[in-house]
Every structure is written in C-alpha cells, then in structure tokens.
C-alpha cells in the first residue's frame, strides 16, 4: 500500500513536465499552427531558467525567465510561420534542433568557467523546489502525501491547465482562438485579428513549454546541469496533445497516466511480474497507439483537431 502511494507520487512527478509541454502545445495548435519545436522550446527554457536561478539564487525569477525564454523561442517560430509563411513542420523541427544545441552550448560554456567543474543550483532554490509542506494538511495519512507533498511546479502546472481549459472554452478570446484554428478565413471575415490571435497564443504556448523545460533541468536532474536534459519529453508532449484530444483538462489526466507508465518499471516488483525491462519501455507508446485506434473508431465522439492545423493562412487567397 505504501509503495502504491510512492508510485503515484512518482507518477505525478514524471508527468509534470509532460503536462506543461502538452498544454503549451494545445494552445499553439488551436491557432492552427503545428509547432514541432516543443522539445527545443523546453530546452531553451530549461537552460535560461537554470542559469538565471544559478546566478540570482531566486526561484520565482528562474521560473519567469524560463517562461520568457520559451516565449521568445516561440516568437521565432511565430515570425517565421505566421508572418513569413514558412513551412510549419520544417520550422518546428529546426527550432527543436536549434533549442537543444543552444542549451547544450550555453551549458557547457558556463560549465567550463566554474572552478568545481559542476553547475549546482544554490541551496535556496533547491529548498524552494522541493516538495511543499502545509502544516496540518501534509501530515495527513495517504491524502497528505498524495495531494500536498509535491514541488510547487506540480500545482503551477495543474493551475495553468485549468486556466487554459477555462480560457479556451469560456472566454471570448478563447472562442476567437478556436475560430482561427478552425477556419482563419471565416474568422478574419468576422472581424477577428487573425495574425494577432496567432502571435499571442503561440507565444503563450511557448512560455508554458518553457516552464516545463525548467522542471527538467531543476527537478529531474536534481539541480545539477546536464546536457540534453529534456531528453525527448517534448516529443511525448506533442503526442499527448492528440491523446488529450486538444483539451487542457484531459491533458492533466493524460500526462499523469504517461508519467505513471514511465515510472512503472521501477515500481512493479520484478519478482511478481518478471517481464523484461524493454516491455515497460515500450508500454507508453503501445498505449498511445491503442488510444489513437480507439478514438478514431469512436464515431459519436467529437475530435477536436483544429481543421486548419498545419495550413498557413494566406489572407490574399481567401
């Protein structure tokens, strides 16, 4: 029982970076722009956030910096695809390659200058990013550990996902956003400023991805800088968008389920189920395939794929 709770706690921890990446990508894709640069935006966020934390010793500032860095990298993508109508897939892939390279370059550049040969975050930040503790609540048996023991990132992620869900479905700006993603021509005719909506939401999505990145460099790697620290999570986030059916609320569920699948191999007792480790490595992707098959067979269910996803909007060709 105790190990089950530990497993669930680990699953939430493993799912959190995916949650940020997925929600950020949902907002981006709702504009009709498929940004395959999630991995790159997360890497840039991871690097900038980490370095700001390293030099300023300020946790809040580090998170803000990572969001700003993610937003800036998304701005590059937006300028290229919205204004200059570049191919979205190619631009996104380029952003991924650039982002990883940028982060590794800056990381090694700063690492080379440290006398100790290691980049370790100051104690202040390590303490801030550790699990919270609310007196009275965190001590409760089971519930305390399951709900009130995580790092602040987990709560920030869930709050961002909830706000995004509300924003998409219950605000005028969110409805405008969905209209742009479905049919930019019609939205334009209805008086929505298509370019502005696209820019705002792509940048917003990038900022959220950036925070997910700093989770990787700060929490997953325990506050010690390592190259390639996002390690492919950005790609899983892109897949999770489909899993979550473009709904931020489902993204919470999806990312935690994926997190659980990723840590499952360390918590299932090998003596009970002696599957080879490779089986567990395969499991998340097997589940993805199953979900895709089931969701495409389901006729009644609405698929929220934005109709204009991947298509650049040429105003003159309306």
């Amino acid at each position: 029982m105790e190990i089950l709770i530990k497993f669930l706690v680990a699953a939430v921890g493993a799912g959190t970076p995916l949650l940020f990446g997925t929600v950020g990508e949902i907002l981006t894709e709702k504009t009709g722009h498929l940004n395959l640069g999630v991995e790159g935006m997360m890497s840039i966020g991871a690097c900038v956030g980490f370095m700001v934390g390293y030099y300023t010793d300020n946790f809040a500032l580090a998170i803000l910096a990572s969001a700003a860095a993610g937003a800036f990298s998304a701005l590059i993508y937006a300028v290229l695809t919205v204004t200059f109508m570049a191919n979205q897939n190619v631009t996104g892939l380029t952003l991924t390659i650039f982002g990883i390279g940028f982060a590794n370059f800056i990381g090694i550049f700063i690492l080379n200058k440290t006398p100790e040969g290691t980049l370790k975050l100051p104690e202040n930040i390590t303490a801030a990013m550790r699990g919270i503790s609310i007196s009275g609540l965190s001590e409760l048996p089971v519930v305390g550990e399951l709900l009130f023991s995580y790092s602040p990132f987990v709560y920030i992620g869930i709050i961002i996902a909830c706000i995004s869900a509300w924003y998409l479905n219950h605000t005028k700006a969110g409805l405008n956003l969905k209209a742009v993603g479905e049919n930019p021509g019609a939205a334009d005719a209805a008086g929505i400023k298509v370019t502005s909506v696209k820019y705002r939401n792509i940048i917003l999505g990038g900022a959220i991805c950036g925070i997910g990145g700093v989770y990787c460099s700060m929490i997953i790697n325990g506050g010690v800088w390592i190259s390639n620290n996002v390690g492919g999570l950005g790609w899983i986030a892109v897949a999770l968008v489909i899993f979550a059916n473009w709904q931020p609320a489902y993204a919470i569920l999806g990312s935690f389920v994926f997190g659980a699948l990723r840590v499952l191999k360390y918590y299932i007792p090998q003596s009970v189920l002696p599957f080879p480790i490779a089986f567990y490595d395969m499991l998340p992707f097997l589940i993805t395939a199953l979900v895709l098959v089931i969701s495409s067979m389901r006729k009644s269910g609405r698929i929220n794929l934005p109709a204009a996803l991947g298509l650049n909007y040429f105003r003159e060709e309306r």
Partner: protein, 395 residues
C-alpha cells in the same frame, strides 16, 4: 530531371576517384613503414618486442574519439579526458599533439568513420576510441591504415598488431565501495541503479563485487537493483534512484553516467556511492565515496610504449595494483572504521592476490559458481557473469 541525374552520376564518379586516390596515398607509406620495420628487426639492434615501429615523441599525434563532450560534469567522457590530460602531462606532449573529436554518436557508423578519418588526415598515429560502439569501425579502419595504432576502450575485438582493446578491473574498486556502503547502512538495504540488466557482464560483475564487499562487513544487508536499460537516461536514473529510496534503501550506488542518483540521495537525506569521477562535488551531503577510473595510467603506458617501440598490440586489463581503478577519498559521512576496513581490503587486493571473485561463490538462485582455491578467469568476469551474488535482490 536528366540534369539532376547526370549531376549525381558525375559527383559519384568524383567521390569514387577521390576515394581511390586517398587509398593509394595511404597504402604507400604503410608499405614503407612495414619495410623499415623489417629492416630494423633484421638488424636486430633494439626493441624486438614491439610489433609496430617506434615513433619519436615529437612525431606522436594522439587522436581521441569521445562519445559526448568532456566538459560534461562528472561522467564517462570527463573521466576519459582527464586521463588524456594526465597522459599529456606525464609524457610532455604539446597541445597540438592531441586531437579530440567530441560528441561522436557511437551508434552512427558514418559519424565514427568520419571522425577517425579526420584524425588520421590531421596526422594522428595513435587513436583512442573510448566508447563501446566505436569497436567495429576501429576494426575496419585498422586494416585500412596499418601504420596507425587503434586502441579501443570497453570492447572485446583486437587484431594483436595495431588494434587492441583496453579496460580495467573496476569491480575491485566497487568491492571497496561496497565495504563503505555496508558499514554505513542502517536499514540494511543498499540500492543500486544499474544501466543494464543481468545479461551484461560488466554491470553485473560490478553489482556482485559491490554486494560482496558489503557482505564482507555486514552479512545482513541486501542490495536492491533497478535497471534503467540505457547508458544515458537522466530521467530514468532519477526515477530508479527515487524508487530505491522508496523501498527503504539508504545508500544508493550507481553504474550509470549522470550524478542524478546521488542528488536524489541527497534530497532524500540518504547516502550514496558515485561512479566515474568524484561525485561529492555534485552531492556533498550524500556521497560516501565514488568508484573512479584513472585512465591516465593506461594512456601514459600506451603512448610511452609507442615512443619506446615496445607497443605489443596486446589487450590491456589493468586493476587496482596498476592504479587504474580506485575509490575517491572517503568523505566525513562514512561510518567509523570504514577507512581501516577499506585499507585492509585494498591491501589484500594489491599485495595478497585477492581478486574479489575467489573460491566458491553462492548466487541468489541457490547455485554456486567457481571452485575452492581458484578464482574466476578474466574471460568469465568480462564475458559470462550473468548471475547475482546471494544478497542481491531484483525488485
């Protein structure tokens, strides 16, 4: 379309011409090298032991193929590069005599081949390839460039002339680390984050040596193993270490690249044993000691033997007595008496011929390995160690 096709054909021809050209040019000096060697040996003046001609110190040029960037903190490449730097200092080579190729993906045969060819074009006559995956390319190129010496780390192939492999008895150091961990643990549960499973001799041998070291001072303790199934997986290494802590382990040892298991130990208020380099810089409040390589021992030996003309082409499998492997200085976190116990075991290994896997060894499935009064052969240690010592638990 036609234009494109002809362009392709032409470029293919040019490439093949270049390839032919370079082949010829490389074969010639090879032949002359062989003849000079032949004349030397027939004269029978000096150094008949070497299989390659001696190269003067000023003419030595060392190529190093790294799988990642040596600046990277604590891991594998960092340790190898420290070894190269140590060799450079010991022998007194100039910076221009070392050529490094970093971030060479060891599963990308083309990238490996390009990196090695670049080294040779820059005039390298000794090439150290530090990662497992470089093996087959080294084997092929050793045939093509018989005047260049290829030395490959961690593999098993060699040709006895200009291509050997080198590795070390890291299990000896792990035995000492096991002693430190066994004396420290309070829960009698030691955790071990392993890169590969039971089918990998290198990793399994390390786990066994660690477990036997711990058992020698604390027969009640058990070693819990979690396998990440990857040589480099920062997230998985963190998660595996956390899972071990969740099982109640209070010392986390590791056979993987990143210091993540140590930082996990630090954050959970337990202890750990690092690997590759001294990880106490990454997690000062957790690391008891680290299992370390000193590759400069081998690199100095190899380059010096080329200078002396004694390069034998034999494989190298150094141990604690050579200074190739050891543990880092024990930290203040270690239990009382650890230093004495470690020193005694080190003395046994270096001076009394103790080789960890001596005598009859009980495995965790109830069978036994080895024979009374004998020790496991190197081939068994490096190639077929697929059993776990009796106090190892796969959870």
């Amino acid at each position: 379309m036609k234009k494109l096709l002809s362009l392709l054909v032409v470029s293919a021809m040019v490439v093949s011409l270049c390839a032919c050209g370079s082949n010829q040019s490389t074969q010639e000096p090879a032949e002359t090298a062989e003849t000079t060697e032949a004349t030397e040996t027939t004269e029978g003046t000096t150094e008949a032991t070497g299989v390659m001609p001696a190269i003067a110190k000023e003419d030595i040029k060392v190529g190093v193929i790294h799988i990642t960037d040596p600046a990277e903190g604590s891991g594998y490449t960092y340790t190898h590069d420290l070894g190269i730097q140590g060799m450079q200092k010991n022998i007194g080579l100039d910076d221009s005599q070392i050529v490094r190729k970093n971030n060479v993906n060891d599963s990308d045969a083309t990238a490996i081949e390009n990196a090695i060819r670049e080294c040779i074009e820059e005039g390298c006559n000794i090439i150290f390839a530090t990662s497992w995956g470089f093996m087959d390319t080294c084997e092929a190129l050793a045939e093509e460039f018989p005047e260049v010496i290829f030395s490959h780390g961690t593999g098993y192939k060699s040709n006895g002339v200009n291509f050997n492999n080198y590795f070390g008895r890291i299990y000896q150091a792990r035995y000492l680390a096991g002693i430190a961990a066994g004396l420290k643990t309070e829960s009698n549960k030691l955790g071990y984050v392993a890169a590969m499973g039971q089918d990998n001799s290198e990793v399994t041998g390390g786990i066994n040596a660690f477990a036997m070291g711990a058992y020698s001072v604390n027969p009640d303790c058990e070693v819990y193993v979690k396998v990440t199934n990857s040589w480099f997986d920062p997230e998985g290494e963190t998660q595996a270490a956390q899972a071990l802590v969740d099982l109640g382990c209070d010392v986390i040892a590791q056979h993987c690249d990143t210091p993540n298991p140590q930082t996990v130990a630090e954050q959970n208020g337990v202890w750990g044993v690092g690997y590759n380099s001294d990880m106490s810089k990454d997690a000062p409040d957790a690391v008891l000691t680290s299992v370390m390589w000193d590759w400069s021992v081998y690199y100095t030996y190899a380059v010096q033997s080329v200078i002396d003309g004694t390069w034998s082409g034999e494989n190298y499998f150094g141990g604690m007595a050579d200074g190739l492997v050891d543990i880092a200085a024990l930290s203040d976190l270690c239990a009382e008496g650890t230093q004495e116990a470690v020193d005694a075991a080190r003395d046994q290994i270096i001076n009394e011929g103790f080789n960890v896997f001596d005598g009859v060894i009980e495995t965790n499935d109830g069978s036994t390995v080895g024979a009374e009064g004998a020790t496991l052969s190197d081939a068994e240690i490096t190639g077929s160690m697929n059993w776990y010592f009796k106090n190892v638990v796969v959870k």
